[in-house]
């Protein structure tokens, strides 16, 4: 199973070269649903793919479904509203829980007592994250069963066409854009590439390949906001929280915040995808050593450097105890 996560493509175009490497021949199925109404403006992308792209046009298919299946459209509207409400409740709980964690970090107290309070606070945050993912999962289940997502004939027709395109494709390429629409379209049309098919995603396209999609924008108009879970991803890249545009969107020199982020999503790794990032996840799904990550102490480093430091610190003790280092977390 070959999965490649790429950084933003606007200034450093690497997708074409990567696809030529992982799938030298054949059709490349492409997804540009994140571009929304500009989905079909993909001539440049096709050129990058060497003229062998076949766009799945998920955004336009979504429009077709909503116009032609009124029952599903009504259910989708209700689902969207419910997700919005769930999201606002989640934001409310999360903001307070994170404020409590940061306040605990700033509080002066005996170290072991403060650490205990911090662990408990972080667990509350993780519980809120887990609750939200469960909640949106339940809402999606309702949409599948009662809302007709899995029984709509219109949806089924599109799914069948998409499967046919994928069956004839050598690789799947997922472009960035609006990660919300992108993930919804992928799920609605059940875009599940076979394990043997190389998949390349960049920016939002990389985010949807992971297990959980995390939204963040520290440099927006509202100032630093908590990173929030949005939804499940395709789960093709395991143990990874993909954060494209890290330098542009994140305040990376706030070590306390970074530490919370790293511990909050552990054992998954916070992987920063900036311009030029190119991460190959082969068979076992392990991240390569050059992956830029936020380490447990809040610093930004590469996975290789972090492992070396950890091994250096503990190696002597391990050697004395005759132990081997365990698997990467």
């Amino acid at each position: 199973m070959t999965t490649v996560l790429l950084g933003p493509q606007r200034f450093r175009l690497t997708a074409g070269a990567v696809l030529a490497e992982v799938a030298p021949d054949g059709v490349v199925a492409t997804v540009t649903a994140g571009w929304r109404d500009r989905e079909k403006h993909d001539a440049e992308l096709d050129e990058v793919m060497g003229g062998r792209s076949h766009n799945l046009h998920l955004w336009h298919r979504l429009g077709h479904v909503l116009v032609n299946d009124h029952a599903f459209a009504a259910a989708a509207v209700a689902y969207n509203r419910a997700v919005d409400e769930a999201n606002s409740l989640y934001s409310l709980r999360l903001t307070h829980a994170l404020e409590s964690v940061y306040a605990t970090m700033r509080h002066t107290a005996r170290e072991d007592l403060r650490d205990s309070a911090l662990r408990a606070g972080l667990q509350s945050v993780r519980d809120i994250d887990a609750w939200y993912i469960w909640l949106v999962g339940e809402l999606e289940q309702d949409l599948r069963t009662s809302g007709g997502m899995d029984s709509s004939e219109v949806v089924a027709q599109h799914r069948s066409e998409i499967r046919e395109i994928l069956d004839g494709a050598a690789a799947l390429a997922i472009a960035g854009g609006h990660v919300g629409f992108l993930s919804r379209c992928l799920r609605l049309f059940d875009v599940t590439p076979p394990e043997s098919m190389p998949v390349v995603g960049w920016s939002a396209g990389a985010m949807v390949l992971t297990e959980h999609i995390v939204l963040y924008h520290d440099k927006g108009l509202e100032g630093v906001q908590p990173a929030e879970l949005w939804d499940r991803g395709l789960g093709r890249a395991r143990g990874v929280v993909a954060m494209p545009h890290a330098r542009r969107r994140m305040v990376l020199d706030d070590l306390d915040r970074n530490r919370v982020l790293a511990h909050r999503f552990a054992p998954a790794r916070i992987v920063l995808l900036d311009d030029g990032s190119r991460l190959y996840l082969e068979g076992d799904g392990h991240l390569p050593d050059q992956a830029r990550v936020i380490a447990a102490d809040g610093t930004v480093t590469t996975l290789g450097e972090e492992m070396a430091m950890t091994n250096g610190a503990e190696g002597e003790h391990d050697r004395a105890a005759g132990r081997r280092r365990g698997p990467r977390r």
């Binding site: 994140g34 989708a76 969207n80 960035g176 854009g177 919300g180 924008h217």
Partner: protein
């Protein structure tokens, strides 16, 4: 620190020729660090500067440079300030008022005409208030109906975003003094730009002009009924609106702020947010001598009653006020009252006055807070 230009001029005798060169070089006002020097040139017996800035004497009397027709006054002007002003001239017993500064091309427009603008160091017209050819324009649709509550035909304009899709549910922004927000606060341009850039969510806005503003906006039951029981249902039948309180915002400035707030008080839990700009939240702590004249009586009565029994009437309030306007004190006080009543308040002050460009300049922060766009979702 370098002397002010006017003081450098006065170091040596000034004749008409030197005065002319000075004016040609500097114009008016002259902004130097924290100071602004206003200049008037012309024959006069007295020249006054009218500005309505709380904290500065109003009017400011200009001094004449001996043996010339050059008049000047220098005042403190903190960075990022923006002040609207006019001159008043007395000559041979005749007083001329509301004169804009002929040396200053910068003017602001409002329902009572144009005023000259003094923009201090650091103030710039926000680029998002200017037309952007990249932004896809939304549509303004004229509409109206016969209002039973108001007993007259009410006309309004509905803003529909460029990417309008009937299957999406949109939040509704109800804008008091709607025409003025469009004409003097560039609100359609602002909406087009912010929506295009993904800074705010796609939304539907209704721009409602008043009839007899000072009556209708001063805690007027028929007006509140018109908004809550007629306008919202009317629009809900015609547009896919988010049918929950958080999908509805009432907005207004000055008396329009009172119209928004009092409507929310009369119909609690119907509107999820308020956007109040320099709201006329005048109150008294003892007796009723509020100094605002008879038109303020119902406003003060309403605000006093609310302060006596504050309660939560909405979820969120964006509240702003100019530091230089007399309403700053009541607004500061009410922000605390709103918070203590259990509402989430984002309160902002600007170095500006009671005018449309102040309200225009706050729109981005207000709207992005109330209806954040999908920037956090977009990773190109």
């Amino acid at each position: 620190m370098r002397k002010l230009a006017i003081n450098r001029l006065l170091e040596r005798p000034v004749d008409e020729e030197r005065a002319r060169r000075f004016v040609a070089r500097y114009g008016s006002p002259i902004i130097e660090g924290h100071r602004a020097t206003f200049i008037w040139v012309g024959p006069a017996d007295e020249v006054l500067l009218r500005h309505r800035v709380q904290g500065l004497p109003d009017p400011l009397t200009l001094r004449r440079v001996p043996h010339t027709d050059l008049w000047y006054v220098s005042v403190d002007m903190p960075p990022e300030s923006r002040v609207e002003y006019q001159f008043e001239i007395v000559r041979e017993g005749v007083r001329e008022s509301y004169l804009n500064d002929p040396l200053n091309p910068r003017v602001a427009h409002g329902p009572f005409g144009a005023s000259s603008v003094c923009a201090a160091t650091g103030y710039e017209v926000p680029e998002w208030t200017l037309p952007d050819p990249e932004s896809r324009p939304g549509e303004l649709i004229e509409d109206g109906f016969q209002s039973k509550a108001m007993r007259r035909n009410k006309r309004f304009k509905v803003y529909v975003p460029a990417r309008f899709v009937p299957l999406v549910q949109y939040p509704l922004l109800i804008v008091h003094d709607g025409d003025d927000y469009l004409d003097y606060a560039s609100m359609k341009t602002v909406l087009d730009n912010l929506i295009h850039r993904g800074e705010i969510a796609d939304l539907i806005a209704v721009f409602v002009p008043p009839g007899n503003r000072l009556v209708e906006y001063a805690n007027h039951a028929p007006h509140a009924r018109f908004i809550a029981r007629e306008l919202v249902p009317y629009l809900s039948e015609r547009y896919p609106l988010l049918d929950v309180p958080r999908g509805r915002t009432l907005m207004g400035s000055s008396f329009g702020g009172i119209a928004s707030f009092s409507t929310a008080v009369r119909y609690p839990d119907m509107f999820g947010s308020l956007l109040l700009q320099s709201a006329s939240l005048v109150f008294t702590d003892i007796a009723f001598d509020h100094g605002g004249g008879a038109v303020f009586d119902p406003v003060v009565k309403f605000v006093n009653a609310y302060r006596a029994r504050p309660r939560r009437v909405t979820d969120r309030i964006y509240q702003s006020c100019g530091m230089y306007e007399p309403l700053i004190s009541p607004n500061r006080s009410m922000a605390t009252v709103f918070r203590e009543a259990g509402m989430e308040v984002l309160y902002r002050e600007a170095r500006d006055g009671h005018n449309w460009e102040n309200w225009r300049d706050r729109l981005r922060e207000a709207l992005t807070w109330l209806y954040p766009g999908d920037q956090r979702f977009v990773y190109e």
